[in-house]
């Protein structure tokens, strides 16, 4: 279940937004980026409220995400302002005898904290949007075949957490009913014993159900040669990766032999994993359609991604800003450049209305 767009289009959007949020330090562009993602966040929230069952991802704590983001932002500003005593614009001064926070509190440090906070808040929103639009299940389904079983194990582990919390409160209730008061650490022991036996019961029931429904598939029989090819390929690939890493860090003057070995190792490892994944026949129930709006979203996200990377590579000053002296306090602003940071807004504009 993926809301509005093809999961791959959403993933490209995630990659572009993340890269932009990480590589940009200019507060003007960052604020534009934050506003754009904020709009998408609000649009998804509105849609989920109109159709609570339609998201398929269960209830989502929208307000908690916002609260977390604001807390992180406030904390970053305060932390940076109180601990970095560098800059020319002094707001006020704390007694020097106070450890760490004592000294001049500067505007530059507060601004630096503000920008770092902006990076964090934007990232939090981007991940919240991605998670709520796709849901854990869809994200898992994008995992390639060889990692599928690991993926299912992880998804079960994730669903275990809320259930264990419920069981914990059930058990705690049961103990209060028996008059058990938790005063010291030793009184917790019966709680853990019950929780453990509950978790075990549940794990057994789930495993039984998965086994009875054919989980694990029926791997196609592999010939002896294939088995050796896959194992040998994986081992050789790992070996090449390690040697490549070592070569690259020892011979700094000529890094290309190391790079070649790294690339060859990665390719070999990838191939053998892909090949072993192919031996399990599995199919996918969900049909993911690629619509024109997915092309639009992918194109926009690709443009942002390419622009940010190229700018960082060739014009490092364009996205850069550093409030501390000797740099000027006021950041540059290029109106044309700012336009590309509006691109993450695309999902909010193209999002189709919720089905009645």
């Amino acid at each position: 279940m993926s809301i509005g767009f093809h999961p791959y289009a959403w993933t490209l959007w995630l990659a572009a937004g993340m890269t932009a949020a990480l590589l940009t330090r200019n507060p003007f562009y960052l604020i534009i980026l934050l506003l754009a993602t904020g709009f998408v966040f609000a649009a998804l929230k509105r849609r989920a409220e109109q159709d609570p069952a339609g998201s398929g991802t269960g209830p989502m704590a929208w307000d908690a995400v916002v609260r977390l983001a604001l807390f992180v932002w406030g904390f970053t500003i305060l932390f940076n302002a109180l601990t970095v005593h560098v800059g020319e614009h002094i707001l006020f001064t704390l007694p020097a005898s106070w450890p760490i926070i004592g000294g001049p509190i500067t505007l530059e440090a507060a601004i630096y904290g503000f920008i770092t906070g902006l990076n964090f808040v934007t990232l939090i929103l981007i991940f919240a949007i991605y998670g709520s639009a796709l849901g854990a299940q869809t994200i898992l389904r994008m995992i390639p075949g060889f990692a599928y079983q690991t993926g299912v194990a992880i998804s079960i582990a994730i669903s275990f957490v809320p259930q264990t919390l419920i069981a914990w409160s059930d058990i705690r209730e049961a103990q209060r009913l028996r008059g058990h008061r938790v005063k010291g650490l030793r009184d917790f022991l019966p709680l853990f014993v019950s929780l453990l036996s509950y978790g075990l019961d549940r794990a057994i029931q789930l495993a039984e159900s998965m086994d009875a429904r054919g989980f694990g598939g029926r791997p196609l029989p592999a010939t002896r040669r294939e088995t050796w090819l896959i194992r040998g390929g994986a081992i050789a690939g790992l070996f090449l990766l390690l040697i490549g890493l070592a070569a690259k860090s020892y011979y700094r003057a000529a890094s290309w032999p190391g790079l070649i070995m790294l690339a060859a190792g990665a390719a070999l490892l990838g191939f053998s994993l892909w090949h072993s994944g192919r031996r399990t026949r599995r199919s996918r129930y969900r049909r993911w359609r690629w619509r024109p709006r997915d092309t639009a979203l992918a194109a926009g996200s690709g443009l942002l991604l390419a622009a940010v990377i190229l700018l960082t590579w060739f014009m490092p000053k364009a996205l850069f800003y550093y409030p501390y002296p000797p740099y000027p306090l006021l950041p540059d602003f290029n109106p044309f450049l700012s336009l590309i940071f509006i691109l993450p807004l695309l999902p909010a504009l193209l999002l189709p209305p919720a089905a009645p």
């Binding site: 854990a136 019966p190 029931q205 086994d211 009875a212 026949r281």
Partner: protein, 537 residues
Amino acid sequence: MITYDHFTYRYPDTPEPVLRDLTLDIPEGAFVLVMGPSGAGKSTFLRTLNGLAPHFYGGVAGGKILVGGRNPVEQSPRGMADLVGMVFQDPESSFVVDVVEDELAFAMENFGLPQELMRKRVEEALDQLKIAHLRRRPVSLLSGGEKQRVAIAAALTLQPDILVLDEPTSQLDPQAAEEVLLALRQLNEDLGLTILLSEHRLERVVHYVDYILCWPGGGQPPLFGEPADILRQTPLTPPLIALAKALGWEPMPLTIKQGRRFARALKDQLRPAPLPEPPAPNGHPPAIRIDNLWHSYPNGVEALRGVSLAVYAGEFVALMGRNGSGKTTLLKHLVGLLKPGRGKVQVLGMDASRTPTEEITRAVAYLPQHPGRLLFTERVADELAFSRRAHDLPSDPEADRALLRRLGIAHLWDRHPHDLSVGEQQRLALAAVLVTGPQVILLDEPTRGLDYVQKQELAAILRELRDQGKAILMATHDVELAAAATDRVALMAEGEIVVIGPSRRIMSESLVFASQVNKLFRDPRYLTPEDVIRALP
């Protein structure tokens, strides 16, 4: 279809086989009820059908099985998955993914079926179980009956020839259970699916099935045959059959409709005692007093809306109503586990919203829905000692032993609580909360997983406690238990008490909550077989 030939199965670490020398032949398209006392081997038998036993549990299997032409001991459960669909007791813990549609597709994805075929089968399964409107819902937000139907649909998508269900209705209210069973019957009739289903509440299923497979317990070989023949031979019978056996009705009626013919003929000969007057309040203040209680959960659901209720010492009251009608929420308020939004809750003169739970429970016994969660020591004897210690009472092994003896589980003194059967755990949990000599007893669904004999024993114990002057309040779906043991019944719906009154009056006016014998005579003077037998001339 299903053939067992001198089959024997033994769990690891146990000396005695659970299934011994089993020889059995179940024809294709049969609807089979698997019954027997708890712990007799029903679940184990069902798990041998797809190889979960021995593949999942280990142990030793001997003899031969052939299920649809395959041997489950040789094939693993995976190899049987497209032939035998399994539905487990607790659907919640058998769900793998979170959305209904994906849950239905899970097994097919594992088998690598093409997408077109999967889509077609998901649609069919959604329609067969009438859950098409739930397709995009997260499974965690469904009601109990909906969850069970989703679990059945998920077992059907591989189009198995055999469907196996382990107590599928044990957690459902009567109405939801009926829906599930009707769906199963339709599958059996329309698709010719062979269905094997285990169940304790026979009154719900006995009229749907073609055959009964009955484990008498105690290592005896099972009986297999037509329902009427088997029910004649077993003490575990629903009230209608019990009455028919006592009065020698032939041919044995399996449905209320069939029984009514005999009831009409009998009715004029009966000399019933007049309806007992409801006991007048004896002037004492009530043991439980609830005044205009309101409660909302943090998610905004209004669970209780203006409930008022008084329960007196020496009185046994049943709370009945659909799943989610507020019964458990009400009980939790009485021991202070939940605090009222508005209104007052008093138990034995204590204000339940101000007194800590640990103190209330010294005088109030509360048995929650999962009795197993109440148990957390390593030995049956330690459970009672634990309760005493927690309530600062002196240890008294003699009194503990006497209490266990009265509940019929004294012989388990040295066993580990988690090794007991459901019925035994239930009684041990009851003992663990009764050890303090409480004046008020609260029970939440105490008959889950109990067979008829155990249920009658429980009813007898509770009546005895009531006669000693305890006030008992019990939330239950079990119509027959409420009919047999309680003085008053309160029907709840949407967080309100819709009606409250003497059990005889309430339960004979209800469509859903009427007992079998009452449906037969439509007269408040007859709720149980005993009522009828006592009125014989």
